[in-house]
Symmetry: C2
Subunit: 431 residues, 2 copies
């Protein structure tokens, strides 16, 4: 299927000659017998550098490597005033500095309620009980003997962008939208394990639930409809090829594609098939949305389609001045696949169709790009995505009209960055 | 497109009841009012554990995290006798312990000729010259202004499995097949940059070349046909979402999809469009295959279709005894996409069709699984892959018939693991 919407080879190639330094200008032309240099020669071209004449690290230097020191900006960051203690807090993925779609585990955001625990594979147990034919307990080694599945999914916290309900609060895409990551999971489908326990005694699946909890002190009990559990929920033990990191629930976590991050219980310990939702503390006091009339919207599990421009953004200003500029960002939908992303630089008066780096994948992050020629004047940059249900990402005003002003969760509205002539960007609201 | 070849939900669900401990047996049944325990209760079920009653790490503990200490087996390893010095050596990806298809940068194999260097983005320069209309020099910041592409590709060293030409040498998939990794690259297509420099003066592309070299002392000059350069070669600056690691060529490397790893020059410094191949030292003294008649096969760029079972394998023995067993491995082809993988446990007498975790992607790693019921007797486990050109992975004897016994590179033959009744595995050759 040929789709030029994500093929940069199609269409005219705008010349970027104005900003590139010709080889002649750098002095290389002199060596190659070209025209005389018009500017001072670039010593990085004309002189042998240290790294080109010495040796570097051997292959035994880093059995498991870390990023180079020059990338120290690309880290998880937390906001200290958010919660009382760092063990029951959240940090943010540095999405302003990433590209592609995979989020490295090492800088993928964390959300804990009693901190990240150490749980060895040998000590790991998963109990499946309740309305099953035979209650079962699985060791980690047991789980590795069941048929495996691999799938890439985003995980987004329901509170992502939550502070922005009150207005433009945090100055950076990492902080406004960084409660999100995207990983390739390997594991066993929950359906396989539930079939092993047997569901004949569960009766009609449509009105049944599972209650899931983790092995950490906060346990984070959650109720999930049995239909969803049998559909695409995974018991995952690898992410991006290797074991889950300690902070991502080692050795086993739940994966609930497209649904709120809090359901993706880490250090998964127990799954109980039940006749009704447990309505645990976390489910009733948190993770419900208060509407304008005071009633509460609960069990809003699905993460709505959402997108954000990651660059330019407050933490990723334009430093090269006017001319060719790459605008990029991420889009995702918990209801299916992203089918398109529009970008505006005039605050929504006019929209251009962005290029998807690849066709959207269901419930996974999609990378988009728009190549523009920046004239150096201020911009109000936004992105707006579409998913395959026909849903279009709304503005904040459109959301407020429906939800009122007391929402905490599920803020998937269009984000605006005010990009100034200096190239610096600021988080703003536009009407 | 529905394809049940990679859907574990289809078909009969073999009961694994024989090896699972029922919840009643663990003592959980007692608490739940079930049958009396038939075995000693499992304290990991019946007693509150430390990690469930204490707290763990806060969200500020690891701005950039590493794997948990219990995963210390999952590291790059090198073989000291391979080369004279670790700066001009290679290490191996721990493929025996990975799953999925993404290889984390931190444990992805490295091959250097003068060690891994530190090269800052500000100091980075890329020159494109030779048979171009306008020679150009790009800074790193310049590269970020061109239209980007994202694509996942495997990189395999031409010498991968090379020691095995002489017989079954190394006891582990990491060592026999670990000169390989698979990453999602973000960058600019080389075509875009060559178009910027202009190729009208290059004449007929079919007989033109590019010569590429890196900024490290060993520079690693290589000749690549211009046709390939214009096809799918990338200038990459991100892998798996984040910057390339120092050891993978930070900040910029070449990506030559499906072709020998040595072409994927790291710390890319220069690209010269030339009328003929340079035939540099590395290209003539190494990376050519000596055939049986003494002539040399050169410029064997494309990595042929290949596969290997990663588990069970010498470093990943079967520890659970007979019964349900997951056989898994990787398959790939430099000529296109993997269309199927067969697995045998009797040394090739009979073959079963393995399940692909997902449809094969061109020039990227494919994960396969086969779920079997192991009767506990010894096995001779092999995998054999097919790609979309119709090519079938050959046996070592078939390769030797064509190439003779003096080959060093491009050993893509079928690999055999002798799995004993104990579950331990050994590298063997079978006729």
């Amino acid at each position: 299927m040929s789709d030029t919407s994500h093929d940069p080879k199609q269409g005219p190639v705008p010349s970027r000659r104005a900003f590139l330094r010709g080889a002649a200008a750098t002095g290389a032309g002199l060596a190659a017998g070209g025209a005389a240099a018009q500017n001072a020669p670039d010593p990085l071209i004309t002189q042998v550098q240290d790294w080109a004449s010495g040796t570097g690290d051997g292959v035994d230097a880093t059995p498991y490597g870390m990023p180079i020191e020059f990338e120290s900006d690309v880290i998880r960051r937390n906001v200290e005033w958010l919660t009382a203690d760092t063990i029951s807090s959240i940090n943010f993925t540095p999405i302003h500095a990433l590209d592609g779609t995979i989020t490295p585990q090492g800088c993928a955001f964390e959300r804990h309620h009693s901190g990240a625990i150490e749980l060895r594979k040998e000590d790991y147990r998963l109990m499946i009980h309740g309305l099953v034919d035979t209650p079962l307990v699985f060791t980690y080694a047991d789980l590795e003997r069941f048929p495996r599945v691999n799938k890439t999914f985003f995980l987004e916290c329901a509170a992502n962008t939550g502070m922005e309900w009150a207005g433009a609060q945090l100055n950076g895409a990492q902080f406004t939208h960084g409660m999100i990551h995207n990983m390739e999971y390997s594991g066993v489908s929950l359906r396989t394990l539930l079939d092993e326990a047997g569901l004949t005694s569960a009766g009609d699946f449509k009105d049944k639930w599972i209650y899931v909890e983790g092995a950490d002190a906060s346990s984070n009990g959650r109720s999930i409809p049995l239909e969803k559990a049998l559909d695409d929920v995974m018991i995952a033990f690898k992410a991006n090829g290797e074991a889950l990191r300690k902070e991502h629930g080692y050795p086993v976590r739940l994966v609930v594609p497209g649904w709120e991050g809090n359901l993706w219980v880490k250090w998964l310990r127990r799954i109980e098939v039940t006749a009704q939702a447990i309505e645990s503390r976390e489910e009733t006091s948190k993770y419900t949305d208060t509407l304008e009339d005071g009633t509460a919207r609960k069990w809003t599990w699905v993460m709505d389609a959402k997108s954000v421009v990651t660059s330019p953004s407050p933490q990723a200003p334009i430093t090269h001045g006017k001319g060719p500029l790459v605008v990029t960002g991420l889009a995702w939908s918990g209801r299916g696949a992203i089918t398109g992303v529009d970008v505006t630089i005039d605050g929504g008066k006019t929209w251009q169709k962005a290029r998807l780096a690849a066709a959207g994948q269901p419930m996974a992050l999609t990378r988009f790009y728009l190549d523009i020629d920046w004239d150096g004047s201020e911009m109000f940059v936004q992105s707006r995505c579409h998913d395959d249900t026909g849903y279009v990402q709304p503005t904040k005003n459109q959301l407020r009209d429906v939800r009122g002003l007391n929402s905490v969760y599920h803020n998937n509205c269009i984000q605006t960055w005010w990009v100034k002539e200096t190239g610096e960007a600021e988080n703003v609201e536009v009407s």
